[in-house]
């Protein structure tokens, strides 16, 4: 893939880092997510959240290599077909819907969408007398051998949240 930035893994911080030609630093981190595990009767592993952060405060000039580098990182992530990514954003978070739509466009334009499926679910739920709107997405490899468990757990989130 042309025009990518080299990224390195920092063992101390646990982050994947790269710096652009404009000297803007990005950090990408994967954290183990136990949300699906918490709604499954069977243990579910290899589910992560990915968090991408522009660390530098400077305004970034348009640089398509940034998107391609992140795309390459995610593509490498899915070299293990058992890996899945979950994305949950509550409407309380700043720009939740915008972030959710950006995430969708990023997937549609990615180089891995031929072998990685994304499913979305926007959940309305009520808890402790308050109504929440949750934007959720799940990305999984089409050859994931555990996909039945993973999908059952993902789909049960809404079911349980909306139960009486």
């Amino acid at each position: 893939m042309p025009n990518l930035y080299n990224y390195t893994f920092n063992e101390v911080t646990g982050t994947y880092n790269f710096t652009t030609k404009n000297d803007i630093e990005y950090k990408v981190v994967f954290i183990i997510d136990e949300t699906l595990d918490s709604v499954s009767e069977n243990p579910i592993e290899n589910v992560y959240q990915v968090i991408i952060e522009k660390v530098s405060d400077a305004i970034e000039p348009l640089d398509s290599a940034v998107g391609r580098t992140i795309d390459d990182i995610i593509k490498s992530f899915f070299e293990n077909a058992q890996n899945s990514l979950i994305y949950i954003c509550s409407e309380n978070e700043e720009k939740a819907e915008i972030r959710f739509n950006v995430f969708d466009r990023w997937y549609l334009n990615s180089t891995f969408n031929e072998f990685v499926t994304k499913i979305d679910n926007v959940i309305n739920c009520e808890a402790n007398g308050e109504v929440y709107l949750l934007y959720t997405s799940l990305l999984y490899h089409n050859d994931n051998p555990n996909i039945e468990y993973v999908l059952t757990a993902y789909n049960s989130i809404e079911e349980v949240l909306n139960s009486k």
Binding site: G14, V29, I31, I32, S40, E53, V55, F77, I157
Partner: protein
């Protein structure tokens, strides 16, 4: 042992997930220490 899955346990898990994300963003910006991240039970991975 069969797990008991309740609405409360899922809300707790989702709330933690959203909070963890904010903590990690703050960590990446240098505003939160790695000790705080660890104390909150956030586990970084090296899946690549």
């Amino acid at each position: 042992m069969k797990r008991i899955i309740t609405k409360e346990s899922i809300m707790k898990s989702i709330t933690k997930m959203v909070a963890d994300k904010a903590t990690v963003r703050s960590f990446l910006k240098g505003n939160t220490s790695i000790e705080t991240v660890t104390q909150k039970g956030i586990k970084f991975a090296k899946p690549l």
